[in-house]
Amino acid sequence: MGEFKGLWVYSENYDLMLELLAGSCTLIKNSNIELAAVLLGSGMKEKANEAFKYGADKVFLIDNPRLKNFEIKTYLDALTGLVKSNKPEILLIGSTKNGKELASRLAARLETGCTPDCSQLTINEDGWLVTKRIVYSGRAVVTAIFRKKPQIAAVPPRIFEKMEPKEKSGEIVNVEVTVEEPKLEVVGINKMKTADVKIEEAQIVVCGGRGIEKKEDFKSLEELAQLLKGQVGNTRPLAEDRKWFTGWIGLSGKKIKPTLYMGCGISGMIQHVAGMRDSQLVVAINKDPEAAIFEVADYVVVGDLYEIVPAIVEELKKKMKSV
């Protein structure tokens, strides 16, 4: 298809870039599209060699002491030059907040389209990229097809799983750039404390019910919520009868519609369900296979929350290490 060729991946988060490499390998399977990783930074030689083991056929490397710290404008300038002179057909960028800004600005400079937060990618028979993403606050999935090149899509962490490294090498293309002074000055950075957002605004809610025996046992739910960058919620009996909390989720309490709701030890009384039924995806964990909550769940786990929740926490920790 014309002068554009190759699929490139870039993320300022190196592990996310390795995930994009894995996803790209599947995407271009049975085609002769070349897969290249773009690495920008300082002292990146070793990582460049490693990228081949994770699926890259080629690495474009801009190694410059001035790129030591990630700064969008300087990285954008470097990336723009690279894309303009080599014309990749598809460019996948890690959909972090900074990554999305980078992708949007790059697309503006190249007068092309960009789809952020993609959860699915395919290439149609004519070589055009087709992406799926959630829109309308979780109420719809939009499928979009590109009509200009290069095709820029941003993909969030954990959509693809990084592959097992294989012994492999390839061509490293070293590129020199001149780096201008950044226009934004970073005055300070503060690490975030545990998200103190309102439960109605949380994207992920881990909710506990009467199956939780002691208030202290909420710790494992809190740990799970924290790992998922979500919030902990509870049912009315835990607030009104046991006096552990002041508020609750339900008809007479707060109504939530998170992307993911995880109910632990919740029977699923209709009053509680009224407060969470608009959740996009529902996971329910309960010992009782007859629990009513299972009727409104997408993923049903019949089991003891005291065993299942810690196991999920461990599994997530394992997964996060790889991101």
Binding site: G113, T131, S137, K148, P156, E201, V296, K319
Partner: protein, 263 residues
């Protein structure tokens, strides 16, 4: 006296969406409103004006009429609204819309600061602010939850995944804001009545010299193929396994594939 431009999108009120029998989402007839985060941007602009003076101008690009939304913005405290409304803008993506907004801003005259929402409530692509910055060749600060404007500099606190970043840049600049920045005011009856006397300027694409092929689907980088409601019916998939670890592994894998983790 600073000149503040706020980009307002007239978005679909997503809470009122319904799917038809085939699962396609019906957007026709669904109420429209000022996109939530854009309202935060407008509120912040009005607060800046109340503190340091100046003028607040809103700009809206829309294929359909959006005067009711702009009137609401004027009632909240904006001084003047611009609406670029042209049927040729149907099916425009962020590439096409950002070009329209950039040309409109150029015609209105360079402001000291442009405020946008971090993303729109319907499309949620978070691209307009950054794209506009490139087209106008000025700096951009995204995801701001605090802003101050002083002596020709904007300082803002950005909300990143796991940190807050304080950044500073020279004006003119664009800042995109998060909903945490403020609680938008509800205009009083008096303010609503006064707003009816404020001016809304309406332009067609020709008025800002944008050729038809730069707008609509032709001017866009992507085309929407379909917009489907996710299935409302719950899946009721039973996750089974040998032991809790096994179940946890399968569940986490399923959740990753659903795309609900880590947004």
């Amino acid at each position: 006296m600073p000149k503040i431009i706020v980009c307002l999108k007239q978005a679909i009120d997503v809470s009122q969406l319904r799917a038809d029998a085939t699962g396609n989402l019906v957007t026709a007839g669904v109420p429209r409103k000022i996109s939530d985060f854009d309202k935060n941007a407008l509120e912040e602009a009005i607060r800046l004006k109340e503190k340091i003076g100046g003028e607040v101008i809103t700009v809206t690009a829309s294929a359909e009429d959006a005067k009711t939304s702009i009137r609401e913005a004027l009632a909240m405290g904006a001084d003047k609204g611009y609406l670029i409304c042209d049927e040729a803008m149907q099916n425009s993506d962020t590439l096409a819309i950002s070009v329209v907004l950039a040309e409109a801003v150029k015609k209105i005259g360079q402001p000291d600061i442009i405020l946008c929402g971090e993303a729109s409530i319907d499309g949620f692509s978070a691209q307009i602010g950054p794209r506009l910055a490139e087209l106008l060749d000025i700096p951009v600060i995204t995801y701001a939850r605090k802003i101050s404007l002083e002596n020709g500099f904007v300082t803002a606190e950005r909300t990143l995944e796991d940190s807050f970043e304080m950044v500073k840049t020279r004006t003119p600049a664009i800042v995109t804001v998060t909903k945490e920045i403020n609680d938008p005011r509800i205009p009083s009856l008096m303010a609503i009545m006064k707003a009816s006397k404020k001016e809304i300027v309406t332009w067609k694409l020709g008025d800002i010299n944008i050729p038809q092929e730069k707008a609509g689907e032709e001017g866009s980088g992507v085309r929407i193929m379909d917009v489907l409601a996710p299935k409302v019916e719950r899946k009721k998939i039973v996750v089974e396994g040998e032991n809790p670890d096994d179940i946890a592994e399968r569940l986490v894998k399923a959740l990753i594939q659903e795309g609900v983790l880590g947004r």
